[in-house]
Symmetry: C2
Subunit: 242 residues, 2 copies
């Protein structure tokens, strides 16, 4: 019996209509579907494929043992997550060794800050793994603003809001166009860094890009309440435009 | 009679299977299809949709009056391109005013260094324009290398190879992960900047990402002849990975 394949399938920003043709086909025919979620939640990735995957598919939710309860700097964080990814990888490996193909759902693009990468690195030596790229959340977000992100020779910098404030501000001051991911509890720090870098007035925040509950707002215009966890902050480049 | 809509449809990196479900549907039903190309060429965007768009579709090739014959810094460059984009926009506007929908083919993502943006800015005030985001060429390229581009808090910087060498080197020295677009004639300059920044040994070049003629090569390993025009240079981030 030949081994199965693990597919890391990017779902794009959240609208099933923005999944790739290949992702759509793999999902509709998948017998095994694995996805990450927080305990007690249905999971954003799983929500996106509701109505796309078969009701007969065997689902394997992979529940993070920790998200923001322990700081990233605590060694227990890495140890817990490492054990978790190892367990998940072993489960997927066992399925593949039984000849089963498994689709792993990935929000956005699998190789761009994705949790799937941690499974991929644990499986790639022993198992056939295929990665299906996807529209990034940031593409979904800049499209939602109705303005192009980069023109001509614009420099684009992508930052994680988890970085120290001085690093954020310094990087912001040296770029033309900006994307800030992983906003969450770091929103106030990001706002201060944007102000230091003189970018605050041009900054937009997009929540749930390309989903039914999408909101798009200029940061400086008293945005209504939002859940920064699924938000991306953007500053558009101003480069050459004939 | 109601006006038509101009659709800026991102095609992704080049494999029709990696177009979005929405793009695929719009293309298969399109009556008018516009696309950029160099004079005398079939055009990369048009090639990608061969066999996807209807043979009955009315095609409108938009031929650049100039690509690399005049330096970007020459005022004639901007003047010629500005007139060209204006003419193209007027043609599309006239079609829309007659009630026709038009699909404009965009390589990669329309709002990420795309020529379509120049039509978009000329049309958006008067005509209904819808933009369909897509997988960027850089996502196609990093997927092709088989290694994730960004981990944890990695900073990603996207540079155009047309920037001055000292700007390239300085930006490279301050990032974790790197994408360099628009390589073309600037390949030697980019290599020098990578060496200055200490990134050369980790740099990859991907040509024709996700196309049948794709090549993936570490820059330092004497890559075979390639056409740098459709190439992207990448350096992968090394961030946190539990």
């Amino acid at each position: 019996m030949s081994s199965g394949t693990i597919y890391g399938v990017g779902l794009g920003p959240g609208d099933p209509d923005l999944m790739s043709v290949r992702a759509d086909r793999l999902l509709r025919t998948a017998r095994h579907v694995a996805f990450f979620r927080k305990p007690g939640r249905s999971g954003q990735a799983r929500k996106i494929v509701e109505g796309v995957i078969s009701t007969d598919a065997v689902e394997f939710p992979m529940e993070y043992p920790v998200t923001t309860e322990i700081p990233l700097s605590d060694p227990r964080y890495n140890a817990l997550l490492s054990e978790f990814y190892e367990d998940c990888a072993q489960h997927l490996k066992a399925l593949a060794e039984r000849g089963e193909d498994v689709v792993v759902l990935c929000e956005g693009d699998p190789f761009f800050y994705g949790s799937f990468m941690h499974l991929y690195n644990r499986l790639r030596e022993n198992i056939q793994v295929e990665v299906v790229p996807a529209i990034t959340g940031m593409s979904g977000a800049w499209t939602a603003t109705g303005d192009p992100i980069t023109w001509g020779d614009d420099i684009l910098t992508v930052l994680a809001a988890t970085l120290p404030e001085e690093v954020l501000a310094q990087q912001m001051a040296q770029t033309d166009a900006l994307v800030v991911m992983k906003i969450g509890r770091n929103i106030d720090k990001v706002v201060r860094a944007l102000k230091t870098a003189g970018m605050y007035e041009r900054a937009w925040i997009v929540e749930y890009a390309q989903m039914p509950n999408q909101t798009v707002c200029k940061l400086s215009e008293n945005c209504p309440d939002f859940t920064p966890y699924f938000s991306i902050i953007l500053v558009h480049g101003q480069g050459r435009r004939p």
